[in-house]
Every structure is written in structure tokens, then in C-alpha cells.
């Protein structure tokens, strides 16, 4: 599976974008998952629907909405540029944003399910021992939901590797800067006879996926062992 330079760039960039997106999205997704799992507030169903929206909308629409909001002339994009000098459109950071948004519903759901499965009695026990809420979260809740966080991270990472529609719409397809694996694959597929190069990249995407998933399965097993102890038969 030899790759030409452009393909290598796309591969490298995809990995960078996916890793960054996963790391950036994790804490936010965790927070939203917490709100949805434990919060009691009006508009919870609405927040939940909002989180699901990137699943429901065609990716191009999401990309277009990102462009409107985060483009240099968009309200948020303009603000970010004027105040922090940050540009997202046509940058790899924009690809990260697209990946974060598109992977968000997957991450939130996995974490939410995990949080909902935590027995609040354990958290209460920690509180009676003097642990402050933040400490309860860090030392009891967080380790117990580790499998869910891991699952969310894998899903988010996988989605980030595969994201295409929103990314190309928001940050275009600039080789070396915003051309991710799927953009490259897509371009190859648009030319008659480009299948060969597309297949090489698809195989690479598979390799990444298999590696990430295998790694996560291995980690999950360790985490499960940590939580449940050496599986006794009882």
C-alpha cells in the first residue's frame, strides 16, 4: 500500500484532526452527557435533540451551517477572529471543529448511557466520607464510566476519520492543510481510473479503524477488570 506524497499528507492530517477532535470533544461531551443524564431542567429534550442534530442533517448542511456561523464573516467566526485572531475556515482547525460537531452525538450518547448506569448510592457513599462533589466525580463517577468514555472516544475518533461532507463544505479541500483521508478518497473516485489510489487510502482507513478499535477493546477489557475485579463466577 505505497502512497504518493499527497495521500500521505491526507493520512497524516486525518490522524491529527481525529486525535485533536477526540481530545477536544471529550470534556465537552462528558459535560453535556452529564447534564442529560443527571440534570433536571426544562428544555432537556431540546438540548438532547440539538445534540442529535448533526446525525439528522445531511453533512453538507451541517458544513454549510458551520460556514455561516464560524466563517470569517459569521457571527461566531467573526468574533473569534476579532478577539482571539482565530480563523477556522479553510484551516485544519476547522476540520477539527467539523469532526467535533459530527462526532458529538456519538460521544454524548455513549457517555450518557454510562453515567446513567452508575449507581448513585456509590456517589452518596463517597459524599458521606467527606468527598466534595468534584472529588466524588473524579474518584468515583469517572472511573466507573471509563468504559463509556472509552466507547465515546472510539466512536468520535472513527467518525472524525471518516467525516467528509461537513469538512469539505466548511474548510474545502486544501492539500496538506484541510485535505483529509475522505476528501482524498472522494477526489480519487471522481476520476475514471482513480479507484486504485482510492482503494489504497480506504485500506489505510481500515487499518486505522482496526488499530483504534482493537486498542480500545484491549483497554476496555482492562478497565472492566479494574471495575469488576478478577471475574469470579458469582
Amino acid at each position: 500500500m505505497m502512497l504518493d506524497a499527497a495521500s500521505w499528507d491526507a493520512l497524516r492530517l486525518s490522524l491529527l484532526v481525529a486525535c485533536t477532535a477526540t481530545l477536544v470533544a471529550l470534556p465537552i461531551a462528558l459535560w453535556v452527557a452529564w447534564l442529560l443524564a443527571r440534570g433536571q431542567f426544562r428544555g432537556k429534550a431540546l438540548l438532547s435533540a440539538l445534540v442529535h442534530l448533526p446525525l439528522v442533517l445531511p453533512p453538507v448542511v451541517t458544513g454549510y451551517l458551520l460556514l455561516i456561523g464560524f466563517g470569517r464573516n459569521g457571527p461566531i467566526g467573526g468574533f473569534l477572529y476579532d478577539v482571539f485572531g482565530i480563523t477556522l475556515a479553510f484551516r485544519w482547525t476547522g476540520a477539527v471543529l467539523a469532526a467535533v460537531i459530527m462526532g458529538f452525538p456519538l460521544m454524548v450518547r455513549a457517555m450518557r448511557l454510562a453515567i446513567e448506569a452508575v449507581d448513585p448510592k456509590l456517589e452518596q457513599a463517597a459524599a458521606t466520607l467527606g468527598a466534595k462533589p468534584a472529588s466524588v466525580f473524579a474518584s468515583v463517577t469517572l472511573p466507573l464510566i471509563a468504559p463509556g468514555i472509552l466507547a465515546g472516544a472510539v466512536m468520535g475518533f472513527a467518525k472524525a476519520i471518516g467525516e467528509f461532507g461537513a469538512t469539505i463544505t466548511f474548510v474545502a479541500n486544501i492539500p496538506g492543510q484541510t485535505q483529509t483521508l475522505p476528501s482524498a478518497i472522494y477526489s480519487f473516485l471522481q476520476v475514471p481510473g482513480g479507484e486504485g489510489r482510492a482503494i489504497a487510502l480506504v485500506l489505510w482507513a481500515c487499518v486505522i479503524a482496526i488499530t483504534a478499535v482493537a486498542l480500545s477493546e484491549w483497554l476496555a477489557q482492562r478497565v472492566a477488570k479494574r471495575i469488576r475485579g478478577i471475574e469470579g463466577d458469582t
Binding site: 460556514l67 479553510f90 463544505t169 474545502a172 479541500n173 471522481q190 476520476v191 475514471p192
Partner: protein
């Protein structure tokens, strides 16, 4: 082939405006399925239930022909198009393309993907001919279809964009700042072909004067010598 009550046309998405109107002229029902040229070509090659196929670039039609997926001899160009350089409203016209780098400044030039989207391929040829390719290559914003390039300029995200005249004409938020000479790139043609016998009638309709009027109305031009 099977007798269809109606004619199914697989067409390049960028033709949508004109084709919808032309289909309305047909006496028999016409169903139009729009997608990218590459997608359509592959679908047709694998047995899509299409009677007519219309693409935005000759390359994919060549590909189909070599596979014998279209009726021999039915191929014809139904419309031509031309490239324009656009800017947001109020952007002044360019005298020569050499002003492009200046006009871009730090901004980007929006266009179709150079190696896959037809408009991008034509744009690259033009920029190369004009000796500008190397100067703009790092400032391109290549997108997956021309409509997006149009939107980028319309929203002011990029100061310039290369699109089809037919697209530019429909978007009030952009102004044409330069007309790309037709000689600067391969002719922009929209080849059509029949896949089933049922499709021939629609091909004929496409070459009719009524259709020609609609194409022109939508910013296309008509091939000088319709085959």
C-alpha cells in the same frame, strides 16, 4: 429493454435548473435523478435503471462508452458552458487575470476540486494557460461542487471564485469580475447519451429549439453544430 411508463434521466447536478424546465416540456413523464458525474457514471455502468445519462464532463462519458454502457452513436453534446471569475457584490472587474494574486491578498480562490470536479479541472487548465497556477496554488479553496464555490464567494468567505457562468447568473450576491476566454481550456460540454431505446426521445427533446432556449436562459450556450 423493459418498457417504462416514463423516462428516467440520470443527470449531473449542475444541470438541474435547466433540465427541470425541459422535462416539463415532455409529453411523457420524465424522472430526473441528480448526482455528481462520477457517481452517475458508476451507477449507470452497474445497471442503474436510467434511460438517459447527462454528464458535466466528457471524461466520464468516454469511460461509459468504452464499457459499452450507452447506446452506440447516441452520444451528443446538449449544452456548453463557460467559466467566469466572480467576486462578492461590488467587486470591480479585472482587466487581466494577472491581477488575481493582488485581489486575493491573503484570501483564497474558491473553485471545484482540480482533479475531480469538472469545473475545477477546467479552472486549472485556464490558470495554467494564464501562467498563474503556481502563484495561486497555495491559496486555493477547492470544494466538492461548484455551488459551494459560489456560496463561499457569496458569503464573502473568499474574495474570488471560479464557477460556471450558469451558476454565477443565478446568484445575486456575486458579480462576474472576469470572463474566462473559451480558448483557455477544453470546451465545457455536457455530453448526453441514451442507455435504452426509450431514452432516445428525451435526447431529441434536449436538442430541440425549446430546450435550447431554456439552456440559454439558464446561462448555458448551445453547441454550434448539434449532432
Amino acid at each position: 429493454g423493459a418498457v417504462h411508463a416514463d423516462t428516467t434521466v440520470f443527470a449531473a447536478a449542475s444541470l438541474r435548473g435547466a433540465l427541470d424546465e425541459i422535462a416539463a416540456l415532455s409529453t411523457t413523464p420524465v424522472t430526473l435523478s441528480y448526482a455528481g458525474s462520477g457517481t452517475i457514471a458508476r451507477q449507470v455502468s452497474i445497471g442503474a435503471p436510467a434511460d438517459v445519462v447527462i454528464l458535466a464532463h466528457p471524461r466520464w462519458m468516454d469511460w461509459l462508452e468504452t464499457r459499452g454502457a450507452v447506446l452506440a452513436g447516441s452520444r451528443r453534446n446538449v449544452a456548453n458552458n463557460s467559466l467566469v471569475l466572480i467576486g462578492p457584490n461590488g467587486a470591480g472587474p479585472l482587466i487581466t487575470p494577472t491581477e488575481i494574486p493582488q485581489r486575493l491578498d491573503q484570501g483564497r480562490l474558491a473553485m471545484g476540486q482540480r482533479d475531480s470536479v469538472p469545473a475545477g479541472i477546467y479552472a486549472q487548465t485556464w490558470l495554467e494557460t494564464a501562467g498563474l497556477w503556481d502563484r495561486v496554488i497555495d491559496q486555493l479553496a477547492e470544494v466538492e461542487n461548484v455551488r459551494l464555490a459560489l456560496a463561499l464567494v457569496a458569503r464573502g468567505e473568499t474574495p474570488l471564485g471560479v464557477v460556471y457562468r450558469s451558476d454565477a447568473q443565478a446568484e445575486p450576491r456575486v458579480d462576474v469580475v472576469y470572463n474566462v476566454p473559451k480558448t483557455a481550456h477544453d470546451p465545457i460540454t455536457y455530453p448526453a447519451a441514451a442507455i435504452t431505446e426509450d431514452g432516445r426521445a428525451f435526447l431529441t427533446l434536449l436538442s430541440s429549439p425549446e430546450a435550447a432556449a431554456i439552456f440559454e436562459n439558464n446561462g448555458f450556450t448551445i453547441p454550434e453544430a448539434p449532432q
